[in-house]
Symmetry: D2
Subunit: 343 residues, 4 copies
């Protein structure tokens, strides 16, 4: 059995979550998110946000979070601006368009949007009413390329959006990894002040399912629960989401797990750097994209699963390695050993 570095959702969940599910299994709770675990988890999250006025909703996964958020805040003629690498553009089977909204794509080097990128889009959308109206800026942190936003960058985007009457929405499927990266200077509190909506991803960080949508802009909070129900995302046993986030938030388990994933990736990255390996992008989270010789890729493939991300030339490719909350030292060490033996 090969060890997989293909993604961060190939294992189950952190043992504390299973223990809590077991511990609370037989008590009767109100359905649809009104259980006491969900309520407590929301209180905990608000404390970390230092924002009692945030509204918090739990849903099952990232695509679901993205489509519910976007379809509920936009009017029919309004659209989304996203980096071309954005998950909503090419990895969600047109889920956003299926709710009626166009996504305008911007090419970037590192998967991150800048105000100047957005300005170009606005400049090209002035033929009213013949074009869609750009209204929501979608960013991912960490991005689909493993990169992260600095506080300064999010501040600039936030200011720009405010000035231009745009919403700023952060896809946080891997927000834990972003916020625990060694290069990070953002906090949850910052995000609660700087974005209109963002979410804390659980699925890719040790939960079975679950993303916590956090609505900071109060004008967007009203009636949000209707949208969750209408899209089929309101779990009868909301306790399943509540219990998980309660455990993840307790004692910052959420951040410990993400930090673990990042560190395992950094160990591999550093081993590769020492041997002079180049990377497709310079990342400090749990996704790394080393460019390796095909021979070495073949050797690694005997013991490990991972994606070939991009062909560089006839002899080498960038591969994508993703570590998780549960990636063991042994897996990392074995991988590094092969590297060291062959480079």
């Amino acid at each position: 059995m090969k060890f997989s570095f293909k993604n961060d959702y190939s294992e189950g969940c952190h043992s504390k979550i299973l223990e809590a599910l077991l511990r609370n299994n037989t008590d009767q709770q109100a359905g649809y998110g009104d259980d006491e675990y969900s309520l407590k988890a929301k209180i905990l999250i608000k404390e970390k946000l230092k924002n009692q006025d945030a509204a918090i909703y739990f849903v099952s996964g990232g695509t679901q979070a993205n489509l519910i958020v976007i379809s509920s805040v936009l009017k029919p003629y309004q659209c989304v601006i996203a980096a071309s690498t954005g998950h909503i553009l090419n990895n969600e089977t047109g889920a956003i368009e299926a709710t009626g909204h166009k996504i305008l794509s911007i090419e970037t080097e590192d998967g991150k949007l800048k105000p100047s990128d957005i300005q170009l889009v606005l400049d090209n959308h002035k033929n009213i009413p013949h074009q869609v109206m750009p209204k929501l800026v979608y960013i991912s942190n960490s991005t689909e390329l493993g990169t992260i936003y600095s506080k300064e960058e999010v501040k600039n985007l936030s200011r720009y959006c405010l000035e231009n009457n745009l919403y700023l929405f952060m896809d946080g499927a891997r927000l834990g990894h972003a916020l625990t990266s060694e290069m990070n200077d953002l906090t949850l509190e910052d995000l609660s002040q700087l974005t209109d909506i963002f979410y804390l991803g659980g699925t890719k960080n040790g939960a079975l399912i679950g993303e916590a949508i956090i609505i900071n802009n109060q004008t967007l909070q009203e009636d949000f629960a209707f949208n969750i129900k209408q899209k089929g995302a309101l779990l009868a046993k909301g306790r399943l989401l509540g219990i998980q986030f309660l455990e993840l938030m307790n004692n910052d388990l959420y951040f410990d797990l993400a930090n673990h994933a990042n560190q395992q990736a950094m160990k591999i990255k550093n081993a590769l750097l020492k041997r002079g390996v180049q990377f497709l992008s310079d990342t400090y989270t749990n996704q790394i994209f080393p460019i390796l010789d095909q021979k070495l890729i073949d050797i690694l493939s005997e013991k490990f699963d991972f994606y070939i991300w991009k062909n560089i030339n006839s002899q080498s490719s960038a591969i994508r390695l993703i570590t998780s909350w549960n990636t063991s030292d042994k897996a990392v060490d074995d991988f590094v050993e092969i590297i060291n033996n062959h480079l």
Copy 2:
């Protein structure tokens, strides 16, 4: 703490499911439903259906199952026919209409549709192209009123739908309870032959989440997975659904749990019948609707939670009692004791 008869999803899940989640927690599995548990669970279900050509997909809940099935089989101008009590009509925040499709509502006595009901609708929809085209017949088994369909009734509907070029879709959120009712003569095999699509509800029968959509009509199977992904219903950790259905199908745990729920309800029903209590509808599943005096309702309310379903007159109301896979003998006995003491 009162015991709740409000619904069948107030507790967690059957202990075997938690044990299996624990047992398999750390093995790495393919994502998005390609894990080995999901594959095994599908094999088991197909065996029970005696239909190797069925296509099976797991999703999280009933509203999600309903909206995905309906939106993926209908063309934009086609609509649904449902009993006015149908869950999709008044309990899903317009989820079906949100995908673009009208639901035509038919008043019934017992929550069940008959061919003659549908014929009336077809007769009234002949003004082409100014009216929607009826195309899918939605039935629930057991119904939202706790009643069930007989084999003869489903056969008649099936034949009628075939003759009239309609799809027959059965909402099986409580299918376990229907199939284990003492009055039932339907089997999973029958349903696989008589319906185009139906689903096996897990959420209301001992799972944390999960409904198994079974597509019998092969022309409707093609590309179905795209719809699940597009609606945000494809879990990254599909193992969560696979493991649950594997446990539920093993040794027919699914039917044992439903049977338990039914029997607990029947105990209460029989106790009430002995005292001459009338019921809003004559049910043999885990939902009963006794008509009680307000005084007795008040007394019961001190120890039990349940819904007042319908005011009958100034002094009495029908209440709804729902038992579950986990309703204890003690809860039932305590309830019956109060009944016996006061009637």
Copy 3:
């Protein structure tokens, strides 16, 4: 060739419209509704509304007007309340649901909604967030049964909607006929004060195509043009709509045409009343529904086209007769003569 009383759109348009089209045919105008005719027509309409703050948009037909208005003012989880006879419910191929919104249907005697009808719906929609949120009240004037609303009735609805945070939208496909009915006491000015949106129907009152949507509620005016374009309703040669409404508004031609239609219907109605004929509903506009013996229906059918509206018993049916802006005295006289000869 039989004369048709089937509808009010079987002829072309009033000659003044054709003359204006001819007169202005070769001048170059801005496209998409920015032509000078559209601008002038809007000025004229605002004068008649005595409301300079109204926003006015021209579209081609009634279904188009209905779907654009409703889809642009509702949020995804909000729905429409309408009388069961409402045109949007059963005569528009699910156009409203196709934009994602449910319509809640209310049975009425005369096609008109009352606050008490709506209150019942609101009372039954308190299970948040599991039900759609009623938000827009759709009424037709004249109704699909030929009846009209009094000023008092619209005032009551308007007040009720305001108190309950609902929008009031009047389908005015036959508004001309309503406002020129002998029983009418409403004015355009009233409607501009009492409704959030209404429209002035041209198609059924002497135009080739065209409905003038009038948005009184200023919060609903913003960006409305985007919706028109997105739904494919923004004509490149908006002049076609502008010229028509300019002619119809000039010297109140619009009202003269509707009045003519009403009077022709009343002539037939009065002739029938004299002979003791009963009617399905008591109407004073261009739609009448006399209940006639099948024999007489057969005789009339030799010279006239009309719809059999409803079977009353084995020997008699209600027929629907619709007169138009262009119904000649001769046609009416011929019809009345047959009546007089056979009753």
Copy 4:
């Protein structure tokens, strides 16, 4: 008053259309496209197509035609492939996405798609079911850049689409101009054999409104009328569309008008070529894009309206000139005179 070269829909319609509207104004006709003019026009078009099995529907405009065709042939998870200059991408307010479908954009030099362009898209959409499924190829002829497809090019696309299970749909808003271009070798008969659906644009070629949608693929014909009605595009007075297309088809008026527009554009083009002017694209239809010095643009702007299309450098820009069915010799001569005087 300046003469406008901004577009081909700034005047009314050809006088024969107005004469026919006048001539037939008072006869009573069936509504919703069942009038005798529509029926006759369809017969005439089928003759020209040499395809009796085509299904033909008239709608008001191009955006309407595009959104109805695309939304009625695609399943929810299927998408469109279009050149980045395609009208549906940036000039229709997201009308296609509003029906739930993504458009994949391809950069081209001349606004025309090639099989190799499409192959790249297919190659990049193999991650089933996480990506939309490309299903319909949208091409415009003439294109938004004024270029046209050769018979060989359409044949290649048609074969490629057939082999890859894709639909081929041609936006023919300016099809008349394409088919009468001096470089054209396509016929209506060819298009009826080579495309699944295309339309004949009337609005930009001498009609008041109107596009004739021609469905060649018989599997796509079924129930199409429902879609037209549901999108609000079925005119009560369908005669308005029928009469126009009857006149346009009679004696090939449609092609004469387009030819006139092309020739007027070619006169200007040739005058500019003689003076050595460069063009943004090499066109032989009624759209030309000469690159002119800002000084000359200013001089021309005193007497003519046109769009500045693209800034080339600080001193020169490409302008867009569009001629129409009604562009007079005088307008062309005046324009050419200024050119000759200043170059």
